[in-house]
Chain length 303, copies 2
Amino acid sequence: MKYYAGIDIGGTNIKTGIVDELGEIVAEDSIPTGADRPQEVVLQDIIASVRGCVSTAGASLSAAGMGSPGAIDSERGVVIRNYNLGWKDFAIAPAMSEALGVPVTLENDADAAALGEVVAGCAKGAKSAMIITLGTGVGSGYVIDGKIFRGCEFGHMVIVHGGLQCTCGRKGCFEAYCSATGLIRMTREAGITEDDGTVNGKTIFDAAENGNKAAAELIDEYIEYLACGIANLINGLQPEVVGLGGGVAKQGESLLAPLREKLRREVFGGFALPRIVSCTLGYKAGLIGAAMAGKNLAASADR
Amino acid sequence: MKYYAGIDIGGTNIKTGIVDELGEIVAEDSIPTGADRPQEVVLQDIIASVRGCVSTAGASLSAAGMGSPGAIDSERGVVIRNYNLGWKDFAIAPAMSEALGVPVTLENDADAAALGEVVAGCAKGAKSAMIITLGTGVGSGYVIDGKIFRGCEFGHMVIVHGGLQCTCGRKGCFEAYCSATGLIRMTREAGITEDDGTVNGKTIFDAAENGNKAAAELIDEYIEYLACGIANLINGLQPEVVGLGGGVAKQGESLLAPLREKLRREVFGGFALPRIVSCTLGYKAGLIGAAMAGKNLAASADR
């Protein structure tokens, strides 16, 4: 059995772990990111954490993979810019490779999580899968033939020309309508709140469940936009599985059943609807996927 | 030097040819499709035409590729359904392979044309290219690392939720706004016609050139939608080159210059704008690309 280190870099915590070649986690750790420190200091913490995991697992590493948010250059293994972490032009993969003595790949964190779901989660065994994360933004990761299709990012696909202002500068992006942030905005605008006046991504679903008709209509409208964006991607790339992650996807079938219903009307006649499912791995997706990206790197180097 | 046969199947004519490994056509032929005849009879004509080309070129074939419109199954080499040709469940690639004694691949015709433009046309040498055809519909073909990314079809990506009715059943598709058909409809609705009352894809551009202000505004609106759809694909897939083909693209820089201007405002800050160019190979793109798909098939079989 071969083993790979996975590193999932987040703004608050960095998760590290050792994953076997089948995608099973055999050791893991989580450390505070401490983003106020110089990037080289954070790197030393990550190295120590990985070494701890290696020691716990009693395994020798074949390769490692990292998932990072922000603008990255996967070819060179460099985090170009990450505003949350304060990182800039950080050649983290080469530095990590030197420290660990194995090849290290750097991937976008959403891409890594998508690979995790294909190896061990909701899209296990699928020839191709699009993983869409409905969180603060809308992220997308595409995996085909077991490999990350780098840079597949459809959160800023305009679905409503001239529509809602998006943070990216465009108007009418998929993200502006379908992120948890977008849903919370819609909920607040409809005057639907928790008892204490706050609104979260669950508020609207709870209200609908309690018989609030306006809430049910708003959910229908949300799913309408979601179906529009997802149908674009199904028609455009024909994934075998579409997996939904992020906070909103926790609604499970009460979101997925009406979504499938709408998608059937939006997807080309000749195509069967892909499997539309919820992601199953949670935070582990990023860890497993990063490690499996390391595995793919080692395999391509062997060829 | 190795040689490959390319076959581009159209509703009116079928073009065949022999292409060398560098993408140069060394012999070619064109035969009427005769779509009213049984599919097996058409096949015999294609085989005879290819054999004629082989003889003219004095070359021995290493493989062949076919580009076909309609619903195809590339894995099995079967045209599932082509209404224009009246073809149904036609295992044309295996039949062709038996007749020619070499491996034969079947690709979507837009995909094949995109590969042709990457091998020998507007996107020569590009690591990745998206070729968008603005014709009766809007077709798209994506080539990455010299290979066709099968089934990348964004003509039916909704860019205006709830917008114009598209032939596919959805509302607001890229195709409904940006095909030559869509442009002709817009032109007619604006009351702009040729002297004889007809409208074609050039009418609006000619009118604008002759100082018609309404025509210039309409072109601006058309390019606005075109930029919206293309920006979605640039943000989503980050191609190195975007090549525009089809009748509308014949406008060249008078279309491309304002398009680039709008794209600069729509494409993510971190990305440089890809090269935005017109396709250069015309009908030869399909022929060359089909042959080069055959070359890729042979190369993957060798591995």
